[in-house]
Symmetry: D2
């Protein structure tokens, strides 16, 4: 839980949480010190202060805490950069001490939000059971080993790698397709190389709240053939009716069309935060029509130079 600053990774702990699972997907974090923190504020504070080289935080559809706070923090804390995104399926298992049968379970320990998400299954399989709340998805199973108040616990899959427990049931969550998206955040650094399957995240304010103002901002992307995979409005909070937008773009800042769209966005918006260009978790390759490929941008610049110098075409 400690170590040299330049190597430590912060995450919402303890070990075994979904955030911990996300950090486990980062090759560079293997074998480095991991620092368990309590919320996104602490995680980003570790990064800003240099206590950690990077922090893993939930950015979309989280079960372990709201993402509005994450978005607002990223909008207001300067000099952060997203290094990568990671998807973790939000699935649950029911675990118990070895030798416990499902029929023996009377009391279930669970983080309240996880409990709510498994409630349908629990009421069907364990009618009349009791619920003991737990501060985290890891504390719930861990405490089974320290106390027999509960007979079973709701936990993330893989928890049995950490504790000598047995799985009584898998896939007990209401939504079998739920996924949480995490991002690994560091201080500002040079952008990584393009992979052909990249995403660019920005947060931008509108110059005014007139109808059509958002449209005008999005035209900056459309006129360069840049697709969005996420847009969310967030009230800025300083005055009624002012909004910022959290936006994910298909492509990398070193793609000509994305760079050009960012230039347009910068000129249009009174406040743009560039959060980073990084490989997509889904490895989906971005298809771009020839019109918006890099060559199209280079050719246009050659053409413009020719026009100015007056070369015959």
């Amino acid at each position: 839980m400690s170590g040299s600053d330049a190597e430590t990774y912060s995450y919402l702990g303890p070990a075994g949480t979904f955030t911990w699972a996300a950090l486990g997907q980062v090759p560079g974090a293997a074998g480095k010190p991991w620092r368990s923190v309590n919320n996104v504020g602490e995680a980003l504070d570790d990064v800003v202060s240099g206590r950690s080289v990077a922090a893993m935080i939930a950015i979309e559809n989280s079960i372990e805490g709201g993402v509005s706070a994450t978005q607002d923090a990223l909008a207001s804390i300067p000099n952060l950069r997203i290094l990568g995104e990671y998807l973790v399926p939000v699935q649950f298992v029911l675990v118990a001490r070895p030798g416990t049968a499902l029929a023996d379970v009377r009391v279930v320990s669970a983080h309240p939000v996880a409990y709510a998400q498994c409630r349908l299954w629990l009421e069907r399989a364990l009618p009349g059971h009791g619920h003991i709340p737990s501060p985290s998805n890891v504390a719930a199973p861990r405490d089974l080993l320290e106390s027999d108040v509960a007979d079973a616990a709701v936990a993330p899959p893989g928890i049995t790698d950490h504790f000598p427990l047995e799985v009584l049931a898998e896939g007990i969550g209401d939504n079998p397709n739920a996924v949480t998206r995490f991002v690994l955040v560091s201080r500002t650094a040079p952008v990584p190389a393009r992979t052909g399957s990249d995403k660019t995240s920005v947060i931008a304010e509108l110059p005014s709240d007139e109808p059509g103002s958002l449209l005008e901002m999005l035209e900056q992307f459309a006129t360069r053939g840049v697709n969005m995979s996420l847009i969310e409005s967030r009230p800025i909070g300083d005055a009624l009716g002012r909004y910022r937008f959290v936006i994910d773009l298909d492509g990398h800042i070193l793609d000509e069309r994305v760079a050009d769209a960012l230039l347009g966005l910068k000129r249009f918006s009174p406040n743009v935060v560039f959060l980073g260009s990084y490989p997509r978790a889904d490895n989906h390759r971005i298809e771009v029509s020839e019109r918006y490929g890099d060559d199209s941008f280079l050719d246009a610049r050659d053409w413009l130079r020719g026009l100015i110098s007056g070369e015959p075409s």
Copy 2:
């Protein structure tokens, strides 16, 4: 917790939660049976099945559970209608049994998400305290009266109306401005009258995932002078790259410009869910330029009729 279907209101309970506070803002719910449920799925199920006349659910920035699930449920469960929106400040107090002083507090009971949001204050004011998780923001204070395991509890303001507890500290949350937005949802019903300060909520899919497709959809609003106060993309989940958008519009479906924009949206989008037109929680009056006022729409229709019939102007 029971009563005639036509009068019961469902909410994420128990009494004292933020959702309960939101329901308390509904004049029509006063004196009617309130039904405490465990999550948004149960709440909407009550409405669909007729167990309740309406349900209060968090739709934006919730501390008591994710809102993605709410948005996805509203997109996929047919025949629901939002009747109104309600804002509840997400503030916390520290409460204890009468006679307890702040200096006496060693162990704090709290819902884990609430605990995370008050952590800064708790660590400063109560260094070395212990945390006992609680399944809800109401169970935490209530259990103080049944057990002395904890000395104090994190709770919503107003909890002392329910339990004979004393407030040790107010405003202990990290974010003093946090607000959760709730909506009251019923089965489909005629739209309520206009108030001049209304909001219209829709969920719409894009016909394709080409860059510019969202822009084309938003032009349906901009060309009628209709402003958006919220837009959020959500992956539809049936195939890569397809999105639906949760959108709040300024105005009421009986406003000519909003009706006309909805017609355009219906023609453009392969799937539109109209969630309702209802009074805004902030009572902010919508200002519309003359160009997009009702008279402008009526005048244009008169003009068109004259053109077709061939009357000289």
Copy 3:
């Protein structure tokens, strides 16, 4: 050249001009009195005053006079309506008195604009010839019969139906594909029925001269799937930088998408002149995607009514 007002047609004469040829394409004008006038002002004045039931005037790419004047007249004279459009190929023949051979031609009579358009051919075929200007494309050939000052004349094809002259050469114009577009204009009248191959002409002013204002106006068409086949800016003349736009739309005012676009245009523009919906000269059928077909508009209105009344879907 006279007759009852209700039956007379005005045109830029005399008989034999391209405008006359255009009027010859109008079935309803056959056998009715035709009134030869000198310019578009006189022609429209005949219509306004009731001297004529309709007037044929050039609106695009005319050889017999500017079209800016036509556009400006249509923008400012109220209560006019275009009944139809007619295309006339602008081709020329060289004609002479019977017995004249091409080698005998020394002096050519021609309207100066026609002469300029045939100059390449004339200089090649008749080097050293002289030019006698003529007030019209009809006067040039006609005068060959009254005087022998000129040996040959530049004339529209078909002139030999009017005068006992012989064609020495055909297709002598520089541009073999030149076509002039004419419109038949009456006082305001009910719009004719749809043919499936229709055009709608309007003239509209922008509310301001800001960049993006034209874009906003054209979005009124694009959001309804309405294509433009012509757009021309014309300075309004009352102040620097104010423009009106002459626009032809694919489709008929009784097409739902066109009607809806016109309503949007009317609300947006401070001054819209509807010139008419009428059959296209090229008989090209308008293809419309299902999204913008009449049924799509009717379905959307049914949907909206259902939303308001609160019927379950």
Copy 4:
């Protein structure tokens, strides 16, 4: 009428025409050989072949010949460049041999198009007069000195500088505000310096004839805050429904926003012809909001470089 190629200017002659008056506004043409030609084709051919350094041609609202031909020629002849624009009021005077009184005039000599434009005045002032057509606005007055067939001639103002004639009446045209716009065209050359009051002319094709395609092209201008002062559609002629657009932009290719818009246009359009950036005839200074000024573009590029290199902001 001859001279070294590098110094000769071509114009629609002879001396005294409106085109000649436009060429008289060009300081660099003073004292150089001027070459009178018969139409825009000859004028541009002189430029292409090197017989002339530049040619003056009418581009908007011409009385001396159609401008469609000019626009089509500029779209299809490569390597031309507009050097400047010139406005000439299209006004007419009635001139006669010295000693002639207005009351004596029985026969008027006039170019047919000029005659049509003065017809209202002539019919009022000289009822019953005869018309002798003339091949040009200059031949009409000049011939008064060689023959007494006509008593007076319609001519451009200033004609008395060329011929010993007297003005009988001024301002005899129907439209006292008519103006023709001319451009001076050379072969491709480096663009001239910015003056702050510049115009940029381009001709661009749409990639497809779908509704919305023009809108998408114009967004290239609007997203950079570039205003248009002229737009005209012209059918390309190679297939039904394909259009090119003649467009004038406010500003100079060396203005950052115009350069950026041209780059966007080049990428979007399958065929763009840059006709030049040149001083506006009206000397109207272009006002640009700070958002689209040169500094905004330079700042955005600095910002982008910083993002890529990873400098903290």
